[in-house]
C-alpha cells in the first residue's frame, strides 16, 4: 500500500474526528456552565459533611471523547456529567439524604429550580437552552467517597491504590421510598484513560495547542491558555470516530438496542492503544486485534495466547462474558452479553467487522479521492452533521438538499510558478 495513500487517508480520518468534536467555543461555554453550578454547590451547607464537596466533570467531556450529539439530523444538546461528591462518611449517611441534599441545594437557586427536570434514578438534571439552539443537559451525580473496606477490596483485585482511592458510592433510586448505594469510579477511570495515552499526549501537546490557538484567537489570550482538555491524541480521535460509526451503522438496525455502549468501546480502545502517533495506525491496530476476538463467539479457548494475555474480553466455562472495568474489576461491562443467545456479543463483533470493512478495508478501494468519498458518504456528506440520521446511513447523502450543479463557463487554465 503506497505510503502516500495512507498519509492522505490519515488526514481524512483526522479531519473526520475534528468534525465530530465539540468546537472550542462550545467547549468554553460548557466549562462556563459547569463552573457556575460548581460555585453554587461548593458553598452549600450539607449535613454531616466534614469538608467542602468535590465537584468535577466525568464522562466523555472529561475523557476528551465527546462527539456532537445528533438528533433528527441536527446537532443537539450535549450531556455534561458532573460528580458532586459530598465529603460525608458512607457508613454514617443514607443514600436518600445525599440525593436530596444535593437536589435541595440546586432548588435553592431560583434559576436552577426552573431548569431542573424531575428526579432521575441517579442524577439531577439541569436543562440549559442556549442562544445558538444547542443546549446542555447537566447531569449532577450525588455521591460520597467509597468506604475504606470497599477501597481495600478494589486494590486487592489489582487496581493501583491511587486509582482505587478515587472510588465513590453513588445513590440509586429503586423506588420512591427505597434508595441504595452503587459503586463507581469515574475519576479513577479518567486517570486510567489518561495514562493509556500519556506519551502521545506529551509528544503532541505543544503543536496541538498552537494550532488550536491560531484558529481560535477570539477565545484564548495565549497558547498557554488553551486547556489540555482540548488536545486530542490519536486514541481520543479513534474513540470519537468509532462512537459515531456505531451510531450511524446501527440506526434502524434490528439490534439497535444491543449496540455496544461507549464505555466498552472506550475501554477496549484504550487497552489496545500503543501510543501510535497517527489516527490511522492506531485505528488499524485496535480494530485488527478486536476482530481477532470474534472467535470467542465460537469457542472460549481458541484465542491466540498473546491476545488472551491482554485479558480484554473473556468467557467463563458457562458461556458468560467478562469485561472488567479497569478501575473496579468487580464491575463487568459485559454482564448481559450472553442474554438472547449472546446477542450483545454478536452485535459487538458484527460492528467490529463493519468498522474493519468501512474504515480499514476502504483503503483498498483505489485513489485517495475514492477513499475519501466513501468515508464521506458513510459519515454523511459533511460528516453527518447536517444529515438525517433517522434513515439508514446510505440514504443520507441522497436525502440531502443539494443545490444545482455549477455550470462552468470560460474556465481559466491552471498554471504554476516554477520552483
Amino acid at each position: 500500500m503506497p505510503n502516500e495513500l495512507v498519509a492522505g487517508y490519515n488526514r481524512v480520518l483526522e479531519q473526520l474526528a475534528k468534525e465530530l468534536d465539540i468546537s472550542p467555543s462550545k467547549y468554553q461555554q460548557a466549562v462556563g456552565r459547569f463552573n457556575s453550578v460548581k460555585e453554587w454547590l461548593d458553598v452549600g451547607k450539607y449535613d454531616g459533611c466534614v469538608a467542602d464537596p468535590r465537584i468535577y466533570i466525568q464522562g466523555s467531556f472529561r475523557l476528551g471523547t465527546v462527539i456532537r450529539p445528533l438528533k433528527d439530523g441536527k446537532e443537539s444538546d450535549y450531556d455534561i456529567d458532573l460528580v458532586c461528591e459530598l465529603q460525608a462518611r458512607k457508613v454514617s449517611c443514607a443514600p436518600r439524604n445525599i440525593k436530596s441534599d444535593v437536589g435541595d441545594r440546586l432548588k435553592e437557586n431560583e434559576t436552577y429550580r426552573k431548569m431542573l427536570t424531575p428526579e432521575g434514578r441517579r442524577c439531577w438534571s439541569i436543562n440549559y437552552a442556549e442562544e445558538d439552539g444547542i443546549g446542555f443537559h447537566m447531569d449532577v451525580l450525588p455521591s460520597v467517597p467509597e468506604g475504606e473496606r470497599e477501597v481495600g477490596e478494589i486494590a486487592r483485585m489489582g487496581v493501583p491504590q491511587g486509582l482505587a482511592e478515587s472510588s465513590i458510592a453513588i445513590t440509586h433510586k429503586e423506588s420512591d421510598v427505597s434508595y441504595d448505594w452503587r459503586p463507581s469510579n469515574p475519576e479513577g477511570y479518567a486517570f486510567w484513560f489518561e495514562q493509556a495515552m500519556r506519551p502521545a499526549f506529551e509528544a503532541m501537546k505543544g503543536r496541538e495547542k498552537s494550532a488550536i490557538f491560531e484558529s481560535n484567537k477570539r477565545l484564548f489570550a495565549t497558547v498557554e491558555a488553551v486547556p489540555d482538555q482540548l488536545v486530542r491524541t490519536p486514541l481520543q480521535r479513534v474513540v470519537q470516530i468509532l462512537k459515531r460509526h456505531r451510531d450511524l451503522r446501527f440506526v434502524g438496525h434490528e439490534w439497535e438496542g444491543d449496540k455496544p455502549i461507549s464505555m466498552i468501546i472506550t475501554t477496549l480502545a484504550a487497552k489496545l492503544y500503543r501510543n501510535e502517533a497517527d489516527v490511522y495506525t492506531a485505528l488499524h491496530n485496535i480494530v485488527e486485534q478486536l476482530d481477532e476476538h470474534a472467535q470467542l463467539l465460537k469457542s472460549a479457548y481458541g484465542l491466540r495466547e498473546d491476545l488472551a494475555s491482554l485479558r480484554l474480553i473473556g468467557r467463563t466455562p458457562d458461556g458468560k462474558w467478562n469485561m472488567p472495568n479497569p478501575v473496579n474489576p468487580a464491575e463487568n461491562f459485559a454482564d448481559r452479553w450472553h442474554e438472547n443467545d449472546n446477542r450483545k456479543a454478536r452485535a459487538f463483533f458484527m460492528w467490529v467487522s463493519w468498522v474493519k470493512e468501512d474504515l480499514i478495508g476502504v483503503l483498498g478501494k483505489g485513489s485517495l479521492g475514492e477513499v475519501n468519498e466513501s468515508v464521506q458518504r458513510l459519515f454523511g456528506g459533511k460528516i453527518a452533521l447536517l444529515a438525517a440520521t433517522q434513515s439508514a446511513p446510505a440514504v443520507i447523502t441522497a436525502s440531502r438538499n443539494r443545490p444545482e450543479p455549477i455550470e462552468i463557463k470560460d474556465p481559466p487554465k491552471p498554471w504554476r510558478r516554477i520552483g
Binding site: E4, A7, G8, R11, V12, Q15, E19, S215, K217, R218, S367, L368, G369, N372, E373, Q376, G381, K382, I383, L386, R402, P403, P405, I406, E407, I408, P411, P412, K413, P414, W415, R416, R417, I418
Partner: protein
Amino acid sequence: MDNLIEDHFEELLQEYPDLKLLGDEKGQRAVEGVIDREATFKDVTLRLTFQVRVNIPEQYPDPCFPPVAFETGGIIPRTADDHIYPNGSLCLAAPISVKMKFAQAPTLLGFMNILVIPFLYAFRHKQEYGQMPFGERSHGVDGIMEHYREYLDVSDDIALISLVRVLADEDYRGHHDCPCGSGKKLRNCHGSRLLEIKKYHSQEVLLTEYGEMLLKLHKSGMKLPRNALSKVFAKTYLKK
C-alpha cells in the same frame, strides 16, 4: 471593510453551507471548511468534495489582490507537475488571468465559482478521465507568455515582448504605432487590451514579468529590436 466581508460570506454560505469565516479585524481573515458541490462542463457532471481554505487579503475586494485558495485535505498530490504548491495553495491560472477573472465578480462567491470550482473540476476530471478538460498552462514564464499570446492575439514573441514593454515602461501613447507591427495606431490596435492589463498589474509586477520574458528570449538566442527593450528595466535592474 469587515461588514463587506461578512456580507459576502453570508452570500457564499447560501451555496456552501459548510464553510466558516475565520479571523478578525486584526488577523488574517479566511474562509475554511468543506465544499461539496457538483459542477458541469460540456455535459460532464462531477461531484467535488474538497476541504478548502481561502485567504482574504487586506485589500479585498480589490481585484489587484485576489484571494488565495488552498486545498487542505491533502487530496491533490503536491507534485511538481500539478498546479499546486507544496503548501497546498492552488495555481488557479496565470496571475493576470486570476485578477481579471476575479474582477468579473469580486466577491467570495464569485471567486469560488469562477476560479476555485473550475480548478477543482479540472483536477477531478483528470483523475476520472486522465486529461485536463480546459487545457493547462506551462509552468513559469512559458505559461505567462502563453496566456498573453492568447489574450493579445499575437503569435510572434518579438511582438509580444514589445507590447509588454510598453506597459513596463509606462509608455502608452495612443497615437504611437502599435509595436505588434500591424501598422495601426496603438489606440486602434492592441491599446484597449494593454490598458486592461494595466488596470490589474502594477508597473513593478509588469517589470518582473517583462524581465522573465526577456531572459527567456535572450537565452533562446533571439535578437530583439530596440523597441522591445525596456528603458526602465535597464535602469532598474541591469545597472547592478
